[in-house]
Symmetry: D2
Subunit: 343 residues, 4 copies
Amino acid sequence: MIKIGILGGSGYTAMELIKILLRHPEVEITCLTTRQETKLHVSEVHPQLAGMLDLRLLPLSASEVAEQCDCVFSCLPHAASASAIHEIIAGGTRVIDFSADYRIWDAELYEQWYQVTHPDPDRLGEVPYGLPELFRDKIRNSQVVANPGCYPTSAILAMAPLVRHSVVDPNSIIFDSKSGVSGAGRNPKLMTHYPECNESIAAYAVGQHRHTPEISQILGSLLSPNTQSNQMANVIFTPHLVPMDRGILTTGYARLAGSDFTAEDAIELFRNDYADEPFVQIVNKPPKTKDVTHTNGCHICVKVVGDYIITLSVIDNLIKGASGAAVQNMNLMFGFDETTALR
Amino acid sequence: MIKIGILGGSGYTAMELIKILLRHPEVEITCLTTRQETKLHVSEVHPQLAGMLDLRLLPLSASEVAEQCDCVFSCLPHAASASAIHEIIAGGTRVIDFSADYRIWDAELYEQWYQVTHPDPDRLGEVPYGLPELFRDKIRNSQVVANPGCYPTSAILAMAPLVRHSVVDPNSIIFDSKSGVSGAGRNPKLMTHYPECNESIAAYAVGQHRHTPEISQILGSLLSPNTQSNQMANVIFTPHLVPMDRGILTTGYARLAGSDFTAEDAIELFRNDYADEPFVQIVNKPPKTKDVTHTNGCHICVKVVGDYIITLSVIDNLIKGASGAAVQNMNLMFGFDETTALR
Amino acid sequence: MIKIGILGGSGYTAMELIKILLRHPEVEITCLTTRQETKLHVSEVHPQLAGMLDLRLLPLSASEVAEQCDCVFSCLPHAASASAIHEIIAGGTRVIDFSADYRIWDAELYEQWYQVTHPDPDRLGEVPYGLPELFRDKIRNSQVVANPGCYPTSAILAMAPLVRHSVVDPNSIIFDSKSGVSGAGRNPKLMTHYPECNESIAAYAVGQHRHTPEISQILGSLLSPNTQSNQMANVIFTPHLVPMDRGILTTGYARLAGSDFTAEDAIELFRNDYADEPFVQIVNKPPKTKDVTHTNGCHICVKVVGDYIITLSVIDNLIKGASGAAVQNMNLMFGFDETTALR
Amino acid sequence: MIKIGILGGSGYTAMELIKILLRHPEVEITCLTTRQETKLHVSEVHPQLAGMLDLRLLPLSASEVAEQCDCVFSCLPHAASASAIHEIIAGGTRVIDFSADYRIWDAELYEQWYQVTHPDPDRLGEVPYGLPELFRDKIRNSQVVANPGCYPTSAILAMAPLVRHSVVDPNSIIFDSKSGVSGAGRNPKLMTHYPECNESIAAYAVGQHRHTPEISQILGSLLSPNTQSNQMANVIFTPHLVPMDRGILTTGYARLAGSDFTAEDAIELFRNDYADEPFVQIVNKPPKTKDVTHTNGCHICVKVVGDYIITLSVIDNLIKGASGAAVQNMNLMFGFDETTALR
């Protein structure tokens, strides 16, 4: 049994993470921290967990958690997360970071988008990007893993085969993403107040969402895969808030590089690239987010329309887009079957 | 053209009120106040009003508003509202109060439920309860009207004929009410954060909701209608939050006083009592809240099951339950056709 | 490994059942039947199952299924279900019946409410009502179990301790239930067409819902628990359709038999009665349906208001109200840990 | 008072049309037809209209309606609509057609997308496309008007200024549209069954939606505005179904033709082009569909990101996208103020 600590236990990703870990036969959750009201029983914060986990959220420091645990999941905000992780890893504890802190490989780019000085810049570029479908081997051997953003997971999985095989112009890619509201976190604000966002859809952060450089960097890295280069694909990314709890649909558009590429070619390409992936399914009909909510799956459909290829990919933002992916990474890091607790 | 002022212009009831008043040929909105961020254009606070009303929300005092207006709608919180109204009416301006301040006729009862000293206790019992279906004549001749609560409107209209005609035991009445989330106002809080209340229903304030004494008082007054007595009907009232924007369904249960009262009798009783009411419809099938949302209507259905009568009544909480009723009251107070701007 | 067959595999309860059984280490799903379009792969009917189960829905007869399976779940409509079960049990296969066919112990009462002659009346009253919290021992030893209705599960669990201990007047009980739309099944009809039921709540089948006699019978049986008597509790039951996928909240009202029973007494009574139940939690705050959706849990809260006791109970209609309960029953019948695959 | 007939009165667009027309001081609804169950009172089909309109739906022929009415709105399906209209117009009655029959100016193109022979091909190209913002003068003088599709209205209004002024490459345009479910009509089917489409988003008809040629044709016509030419803009159009009743958001992407065009230029261009339009608002923040639902407004926001321009436009699919636009067209055709009944 490995001992698990969770930093920042009051949000939605922490709750989903706990639910998944409770089904995992090889782990035991031993501490949950919070920076908010403390000493609350976990069932007071998350009534769904009543009768399932008997722990309180405590104001523990990162080093206190590190001492008690073999594996720490950090659900802290960016910057705070890297500071805590910097402290934790000295003792050998392994870490999966939900924040964006180690996703961007270039400190300058990070600082440009996150408007903060990176607290641990030396590790940037060494921490693998925790998308097992692209970086499985690196993840296995790393002490720290940067868990991907929810939008990037849906976007990258949908476009990676096309970029890697040079089927599309990497500078023509547009991602139009639609997300459930849980992606905005658990802090009440006007945008996510029920009567404001219910029965309504809107774009937000047009041209400015922080997941943009993450997508550009990872797709760019596929253009010259042998180096963890900083070549970027110039993507347009527009997120939208949809009146539903969870799920992301990303509709991807890219101009075909050549004219003789058919829908059948596309489907075959995807089926080959993802043949051994336990959580990626290539489907024939446009997938609904509901096909994958409450699972770690990603369903992808590809269509050719004129000289464009259109990709449709769905995930659960809290699972494959966050906590499920994190446990998948943990499974790889600790040598468990990759699908444990995720089926 | 009468000049209209609105105190507290940033909430949902104010927005609906503005939309209704913009359709009213006899009135002109001349000032909107706010106690929050000021000088915002109304379209910045309520994007729905872009291009429809060119006003800014200003930090005006009650007396400044009174000077500029013939009729003031107060959307202020309780206690603050009565204080403002006390100031306004000296100059002869008429007022419709959305708060609970003048709904309860007994200062002690008010203070027991609202936990605050009433700022204007002498006027209690003189201000009519603004439900035209019960108190039309008093409303016509009053300078101040207490606009009813949303739940009480749905509950009282459904049970009034049964209580008035002594068909049911007045101490056996149970109201199980279901409301859309806009009823909780526009201030973000955890309970109304989208991922908390979406896809979920729950009761709240069980046995403790402040609309309880309002319902008990008005139904009680029907037992001895010639005096504005303080006889109370002992009702049980349980509100529930439903994942929808607007609408209230109140399911009422009351034990029949006699055994020979049929469903047909009930329907006839209701059709007679409400024959001349422009906004009350007696319907045969259980009504949906959607049958009346965005209207000032109240649909009521009655069923007899065993020795109980079950009433089902629906309104739009923001219209018949708030802003529509307020305009209906204004129409009565100023001698306009009662349905102006409400059809 | 026991072999599982499912009769009627295209609906929502079948889908949830499959998802639960796929997590169960002791069982294997070997056949799925349908009376609709056949030979479809299960992932064409339920895209959520893509990559998880490789079976086709076949037009098998009940006896063909019986031959291949150790345990059959029948998701057939009433009457059709009892006919199939009658055929199946001859060979010794065990059956869990989702239909109402064996829930009512009296053929006349069944025929009065279901308007059909019962195809297997002799077995009525011998098949246990599959609510483990009340009938665990009988379930363990039975070849057939009548899986309870979703509304009755939420209603009976909430009121059973009060009826059993004579705390309330059994003829004063009112259940006001609110259900998500999946409870209405998967056949498209106007009532469950999205723009009809979204953003709206309504009662339906007032005084006429078929779950009424089921609730009355089971609560009645608690009044004289030593006989499986036909004493009925006269309950009023009003179901409502709520704009959400899943979940039931039942608000129960009952008049206290005596005047000295407090809220604390009620909570203690419930905590004692359900102390050993793995899936029932007594909670302090009014529970949300979301606290239990996607789980087999039932959360119950009790309040005393005046001389009434109010119970609030929530379940997931598809899990504790259907497929989870069915697997709980299977676990009991086959001697597995009762919670297997249900945590 | 002009007399109004509505062909096909049982759907959502007919209901919204009736609600708008009931507020119009110059018209009177005199007949409603249906091809479904007949002689129903309009309030049985549309409970929202209880007490508002006392008419029954009758199985009248087109010519019977034409005799009784000055203006007919056809809510019939394509092909059936043109057949009826062909009959109606002989007598001089004016017609607004909600179907696609007269929107496409080329019979061959129509037949390719609609898979049916056009019943009245000679009139194609003569009937104006009923988007007042582009074709106001033609609409004023026409006996028949082709009311636009809901998606095309949102797409064309957002991109017209950019195409007309040659700011973007007309063959680089992508429209990613998101619609509420009422757009799919009132006939129950699995795709719009509540538990299927609630809490989920999906694309549909990718590359195949019939609104595609309509958008391409109208935007193409702006390239050489002096001829009603058949030049097409090659657009990519992907519709999505969003879990909400009503509203369309169309996110448009187009590559800028030159590199020196700024966001400020774009905003100025739109403000100029739409300066006199009563129903189009250019807004600074990404609009929500809720900003315009239940109104005839269209809010548009433009952003420049890299060498792309992104347009965000919202309408109510049932009003500006259908019944509001139809009344706007009627107002033009009969010389009423264009905004009557639409504010």
